[in-house]
């Protein structure tokens, strides 16, 4: 009974925690962007403007939830749910601290890759169901981008899996006691980071929503809480990728003993979230063909090279 209770508590904790962090990121991003653009950002509502999140949420809950008459109603309603569900499900395999993990799957990484592939459906269906040419263009771009970057995302993790000999995230974290994988797998880390940005379609790879070209891309027609779900889904995606980078390359919860393991995990994740936002503040959006070219002609060979070299080293060490 107490075991079931513990699992239920962890599930609720992870759900609430990730959603709170994602909501808090809306405020954090605006403050940090302000910081890097020589302004303040929202600083009026509550201490440091932190209650801005609450104000935004109240606003978005009370907005009219408008479904355009030309839209495919069922798919239109269903699409935003997919992105939230798949990303929240991916959080199940994140080891926040020893014992604090929803489900320690022995195919953890594969589960994450499967879930992020499913997330692409959300964009495609949202763009298709909106029945709007800008939405469809965004959906097309989004699906192509996510499919191609999925490839390197999976392949870039092969080095980590070869070194640790496991798909299970707790094993991978434990295997980093001697050295964080960012040192031997630096190329893998860089490729995973870039693929992660493309996967969450964050700036500079926000080509599917590209507000200067496509209005808002696949979520042009969305409003109210449905739009809010895409919005929170994006921030959940950032949190997820940052947490995965922490777990796979930066030793997860491992760290000097003066802070509890969970705090180490949280701090490391926060650093990567900050880096995501810094990228938004600094880099312009590439052209669509540049993105594809960069992916297939540069990142893919680099990843394959990384796998070959890591494999050679791993074999010769045996």
């Amino acid at each position: 009974m107490s075991e079931t209770l513990k699992i239920a508590l962890i599930i609720i904790g992870v759900l609430l925690g990730s959603l709170t962090v994602a909501a808090g990121l809306i405020w954090l991003e605006r403050r940090l962007l302000g910081l890097w653009q020589d302004r303040y950002g929202p600083n009026r509502v509550g201490p440091f403007g932190i209650l801005q999140v609450l104000a935004d949420m109240i606003k978005i809950f009370f907005k009219e939830d408008w479904i355009p008459p030309f839209a495919d109603k069922r798919i239109f309603t269903f699409a935003p749910a997919i992105v939230m569900t798949t990303i929240l499900l991916s959080f199940a395999i994140i080891p926040f601290a020893p014992g604090i993990i929803v489900s320690d799957l022995n195919i953890g990484i594969l589960f994450f890759l499967a879930m992020s592939s499913l997330g692409a459906y959300s964009i495609v269906l949202a763009g298709w169901a909106s029945n709007n040419k800008y939405s469809l263009l965004g959906a097309l771009r989004g699906s192509a981008q996510m499919m191609s970057y999925e490839v390197f995302m999976g392949l870039s993790l092969m080095g980590v899996i070869m070194l640790s000999g496991s798909f299970q995230l707790t094993d991978i974290v434990e295997a980093q006691r001697g050295m964080w994988y960012v040192v031997p797998q630096f190329i893998g880390f860089v490729v995973f980071l870039i693929a992660g940005i493309a996967e969450t379609h964050r700036l500079p790879f926000d080509i599917p929503e590209a507000e200067s070209e496509l209005v808002a891309g696949y979520h042009s027609e969305y409003s109210g809480m449905k739009f809010g779900m895409f919005f929170v889904g994006e921030y959940l995606g950032i949190t997820l990728i940052s947490a995965l980078i922490t777990a796979l390359f930066f030793g997860g919860w491992l760290g000097p003993g003066f802070l509890p393991p969970f705090v180490w995990f949280f701090l490391k994740t926060l650093v990567f979230i900050t880096f995501f936002i810094l990228l938004r503040a600094s880099l312009p959006r590439p052209r669509y063909d540049q993105l594809m070219e960069y992916g297939w002609k540069f990142l893919l060979p680099l990843t394959l090279l990384n796998i070959v070299i890591t494999g050679m080293i791993a074999l010769s060490a045996n």
């Binding site: 910081l35 890097w36 020589d38 302004r39 303040y40 810094l278 990228l279 600094s282 880099l283 540069f298």
Partner: protein, 175 residues
């Protein structure tokens, strides 16, 4: 490709360094902005050094106004001084272009650096003469139209203004 990567990393670094810069934002209600002296804000009607109204009701400001927000009615005192009977500016229409100030021949209408004119009721944005008149001379000190103009009013005949010669006697041949 290597140069592109270097340039991307450099841009990220430059954006990061911006967090140590001074903020551009002025935290307005607490911190007042530093407005230039020529800022075109609220419109006032000024007085001459003797506390008389400068406005002579010539309608040039109302004609110059591109949005027709000025309305006035000229009148004359028994001394012969012209003045506006009423002078009304609708600030919900005013675009603060300053053409009225340029058009004014007597420096009466002036724009001052004050922009805090918000109202909850639109009707309150219609300023009457008593709202517009100030007790000072505004930007142009020491100017008194009736003292320099050739116009004769009670107590000052033709040719009695400052720096003004006596009128020429056209019936005389003496230079």
């Amino acid at each position: 490709m290597i140069r592109d990567i270097f340039s991307a990393i450099r841009s990220i670094w430059i954006a990061f360094l911006h967090m140590f810069r001074k903020r551009e934002t002025i935290q307005y209600p607490e911190e007042k902005p530093d407005l230039p002296a020529r800022w075109r804000g609220r419109i006032v009607l000024t007085r001459d050094p003797d506390q008389g109204e400068r406005c002579v009701g010539c309608y040039l400001c109302a004609v110059a106004c591109p949005v027709d927000c000025i309305s006035l009615q000229a009148a004359e005192t028994k001394e012969g001084r012209r003045y506006p009977e009423f002078f009304r500016i609708n600030f919900s229409r005013c675009i603060f272009c300053g053409y009225c100030e340029d058009a004014c021949p007597t420096y009466a209408i002036q724009l001052i650096p004050d922009f805090e004119m918000s109202e909850y009721d639109r009707q309150n944005l219609v300023y009457e003469k008593e709202d517009l008149l100030i007790n000072g001379q505004g930007k142009y000190h020491g100017y008194n139209y009736y003292k320099v103009a050739g116009l004769s009013i009670e107590g000052k005949g033709k040719g009695e203004a400052e720096k003004e010669d006596k009128p020429v006697d056209i019936r005389s041949l003496i230079p």
